[in-house]
């Protein structure tokens, strides 16, 4: 009973945190990635990098090394959009089409598709360094998205971006975290970062129920906890595995320190909000 109440509190905390950041920092990921693009544009033209525009990136990278990809799991508006679309599509499939199981991409091809984001990151970075990226600015689906977030229609020349956004939305309906794990170039940067052991999830496999695997099945990005450490960069710190584990076998050292998962989430969200606002991510700042 108490457990049920606890997980309900955690669920609602998550919803509130994500809504708050969806409204206040909808362009955080594109601001962060803008810094990556500017860095390579500067290098391509042999100019010094403008440090003023790098603070967002330094902050996001530092935060991720310290706390894991909390940004991906809870802050990023595109991730929240993806989860909302997937949930809505699940509702439609179950209630209206009477499907028992929601359609989704099988695990093997999904694991291969996860590499696609590195190719996208590489392409964008090369285009920036060559100085021709601005010719492709109409292709960016997240420019279209940030435009829509402030209730403006994307201007002319954004047809390619609109089409891509619609395709991504369709993908989101059939795969959890479709954009995050397959396409996001910022996610590619994050998954290459080292994350302090303090913020990583450890699985106490010895005391697992035999053949349970609830954590693996519930993971939106196909992580096999405790089996393949190299793949761990994909973890978006969404905590879905920890919420479902019937034996509370998934341990994060940080929550031992505070003894309360909800408190941990709130502290991280507050830290992010303060420093994010300082680096200019808040649209009302």
């Amino acid at each position: 009973m108490n457990n049920k109440k606890n997980s309900m509190i955690k669920d609602w905390t998550e919803i509130i945190i994500r809504l708050l950041f969806f409204i206040t920092m909808p362009a955080a990921f594109s601001s962060g990635f803008l810094a990556v693009k500017l860095m390579f544009t500067a290098i391509g033209s042999a100019e010094p990098i403008n440090l003023d525009s790098m603070w967002v990136l330094i902050f996001l990278v530092g935060f991720t090394i310290l706390f894991g990809r909390f940004f991906c799991g809870f802050i990023c508006a595109f991730g929240t959009l993806g989860d909302a679309v997937y949930a809505a599509s699940g509702f439609v499939q179950r209630k209206l089409l009477k499907r028992k199981k929601q359609l989704s991409i099988p695990e093997k091809p999904a694991m291969i598709l996860q590499k696609l984001k590195y190719i996208i990151l590489f392409l964008i970075v090369v285009l920036c360094a060559l100085g021709v990226y601005s010719n492709f600015s109409g292709w960016s689906p997240w420019d279209v998205f940030s435009r829509l977030m402030i209730f403006r229609l994307p201007g002319e020349g954004y047809l390619a971006g609109c089409v891509l956004l619609i395709l991504i939305l369709i993908g989101m309906a059939f795969q959890k975290r479709f954009f995050c794990q397959f396409l996001c170039p910022m996610g590619a940067v994050f998954s290459l970062l080292p994350i302090l052991p303090f913020s990583r999830i450890h699985r106490n496999q010895d005391s697992c129920i035999k053949g349970c695997n609830a954590c693996k099945k519930n993971c939106p990005v196909h992580i096999k906890l405790g089996e393949n450490m190299l793949h761990d960069g994909e973890c978006i710190s969404c905590e879905k595995c920890r919420m479902i584990c019937p034996k509370k076998n998934l341990i994060k050292p940080e929550s031992k320190l505070f003894r309360n998962d909800t408190l941990c989430l709130l502290i991280k969200a507050a830290l992010f909000f303060v420093f994010g606002t300082l680096t200019g991510l808040c649209r009302f700042g």
Partner: protein, 144 residues
């Protein structure tokens, strides 16, 4: 080894940061050198106090443009027939990060004394809006 992955990632991160640091030092030194030569040239061909062909009438002119998420308003000050100062009055619809980039154009416009500068890559909406505002202010300042 449990933490091999993390150690490798840490080493690569340090290597990347290191090479970026080296790059930045070299590029900054080069940019400084270029600026020094540019300053020398500037001294020799200093802007005339009041050119006979000054395009603009002295005064303060307001202009408006549409940026990323709203109106951008500026005051352009003309002094001795030249663009003397550009003050941004309103930019509430812009994303800070992007607008900061666009504002870089202002120095170029004042320096070159005309608004025909390139928009800033990565900040197309904000810089187009800002440029539109400056141009509309300058239209009012043109000698008829």
């Amino acid at each position: 080894m449990k933490n091999t992955g993390m150690v490798i990632k840490f080493i690569s991160l340090l290597l990347i940061l290191g090479s970026l640091g080296v790059y930045q030092t070299i590029a900054a030194a080069r940019a400084e050198q270029r600026a020094a030569t540019a300053a020398q040239i500037k001294v020799t061909e200093n802007r005339p106090e009041k050119p006979a062909d000054a395009k603009y009438l002295d005064g303060v002119y307001e202009g408006e443009g549409f940026g990323f998420g709203g109106d951008i308003r500026v005051n352009v000050t003309i002094k001795d027939g030249n663009i003397h100062a550009i003050d941004v009055l309103e930019h509430s619809g812009e994303d800070d990060e992007y607008f900061r980039l666009a504002v870089g154009m202002i120095d170029k416009i004042i320096e070159s004394n005309h608004p025909d500068v390139d928009t800033v890559t990565g900040s197309t909406f904000s810089s187009q809006g800002l440029l539109e505002a400056i141009r509309s202010a300058l239209e009012k300042a043109v000698k008829s």
